[in-house]
């Protein structure tokens, strides 16, 4: 990828947010008028435990340059333990993706509670910067024509 193109490109980041915390955290960031980059596309899920690793890989395949999964802090899950199970799944997915050679900065995980509007905006800023620095996603992304 050309260096110039890398800088100009605005990455698309799919964000899976837990309805009970991070989604409300994003809302709080909004009502508090905290600025964060408009690169994320939010998908509301009932719990971070709802996020199947397939969702993340499919987002990358369908053209997302990055993925963010955000849920409740450990101990705060609305369903008591959903995020604990999610944490184990994500740990393995994260490790496997890096093992296969996918850049570590493509897929991000965060704990953001409903009262952490500031943290949410900070996380989105950091994630967007990281993904931007990597440039457009290539690995695992399906191209329309391989030789294009």
């Amino acid at each position: 990828m050309e260096e110039k193109e890398k800088q100009e490109q605005e990455p698309k980041i799919v964000a899976f947010l837990c309805n009970w915390c991070s989604y409300a955290g994003a809302d709080l960031a909004g009502v508090s008028r905290l600025q964060y980059p408009p690169n994320i596309r939010v998908i509301r899920v009932p719990c971070s435990g709802r996020v199947n690793p397939l969702f993340i890989l499919r987002a990358l395949r369908q053209g997302a340059d990055g993925v963010l999964v955000s849920g409740c802090h450990p101990g705060d899950c609305h369903y008591l333990s959903g995020n604990y199970f999610a944490r184990r799944k994500f740990a393995l997915l994260n490790s496997l993706l890096q093992y296969a050679g996918v850049e570590p900065g493509r897929v991000h995980f965060a704990w953001v509670s409903a009262s952490e509007g500031g943290k949410f905006s900070q996380v989105v800023k950091e994630v967007t910067e990281k993904v931007k620095a990597l440039g457009p996603g290539r690995k695992l992304m399906k191209r329309k024509h391989e030789d294009e």
Binding site: P53, L54, L57, R58, R61, P74, G75, S81, Y84, F85, R87, R88, K89, F90, A91, L92, L93, N94, S95, L96, L97, Q98, Y99, A100, G101, V102, E103, H108, F109, A110, W111, V123, E126, K139, L140, M141, K142, R143, E146
Partner: protein
């Protein structure tokens, strides 16, 4: 070896005659040398078909999920571990199976034999303790057993069955001083680009026949995510992305369950190194969650449970 075969036949006959089991799942001689195939016996008079040798590589536990009858099954180390996993996952009841445990010295990889012989056809194979005598039209060769083992057998740490109802034959010594994760460690040490290159190159061989999935004792889902049309998770093409996704998810689905029986790799017609991903997850699960699949009937599988202090340094 012959004593062992006799013991298997005798036990199978007794179990069938006493109506302790409805069916015996074991091995019979295949059509070619160095080939054995799974066999299913219901009639006590047919137990003479049963055999045991170094080509009994299939993982018979694969035939268990969903069965309603009582089964006697010939189980080597990896079979027994797979059975433990299937019982944990409630695919079969423990008291439904009579496990005829057979200590295993590792199975022979025919691809390695072919490579050494340069493709010459073996017409007869005879097993000695440490050697395999191979006879063809114009050659006679004795090859050391240790060089011919499947990779999964070479690094196997559980040659003796971990659970069994009847143990046939003498226990064999477990292999020592073998680092089962040596290959994973070596791969981890490479740069990300090198790993990606290897991964894409290796996976590009895949023709999506799903042989690996079908041979796996743990891939028993009635509807696999690759067959799902609504939603269609991944394309049904051999487009590189679809194939890569298939293999990543296949490996993830086996995390904490895979017992490294090597059935996937043996089933693969294209010689994809499938264990590379499986073994990595096996190592991760062991390091992160202190769990090794298929060893204890009481323990919960690692992804069906959690600890409050699980690793989370990767989460913001």
């Amino acid at each position: 070896m012959n004593d062992l075969i006799a013991a298997i036949r005798q036990t199978a006959k007794r179990l069938l005659e006493e109506k302790k089991v409805d069916i015996i799942i074991g091995f019979e001689n295949g059509t070619y040398p160095l080939r054995s195939s799974p066999c299913f016996i219901r009639n006590p008079d047919e137990v003479e078909r049963l055999t045991w040798n170094s080509s009994c590589e299939n993982v018979l536990a694969q035939y268990l999920p969903g069965r309603k009858d009582r089964i006697g099954i010939v189980a080597k180390g990896c079979d027994s571990r797979a059975i433990v996993g299937l019982v944990q996952e409630k695919q079969i009841e423990r008291d439904q199976v009579v496990i005829l445990g057979v200590p295993c010295r590792g199975m022979i990889d025919r691809r390695k034999v072919e490579q050494i012989l340069g493709g010459k056809e073996v017409l007869e194979a005879e097993e000695k303790d440490e050697e395999i005598l191979l006879t063809g039209l114009d050659f006679k060769k004795a090859l050391p057993r240790a060089d011919l083992l499947h990779e999964s057998c070479r690094v196997c740490q559980h040659r003796n069955p971990v659970v069994y109802d009847l143990l046939l034959g003498e226990k064999v010594p477990e292999s020592e001083n073998v680092d089962e994760y040596a290959e994973v460690r070596e791969f981890e040490a490479k740069s990300a680009e090198q790993r990606w290159d290897y991964f894409t190159k290796e996976i590009s061989k895949c023709i999506r026949c799903y042989g690996c999935r079908n041979a796996c004792p743990f891939c028993y889902c009635r509807e696999c995510f690759v067959d799902n049309a609504q939603p269609q998770w991944i394309g049904k093409t051999i487009d590189s992305t679809d194939t890569q996704l298939f293999h990543l998810i296949r490996a993830l689905h086996l995390a904490g369950r895979c017992v490294d029986c090597g059935a996937c790799e043996r089933a693969c017609p294209m010689g994809v190194n499938l264990r590379k991903l499986n073994k990595k997850l096996e190592k991760d699960v062991e390091e992160m969650f202190r769990y090794k699949a298929g060893l204890s009937l009481e323990e919960l599988p690692p992804l069906a449970t959690f600890k409050a202090d699980d690793q989370q340094d990767f989460i913001r």
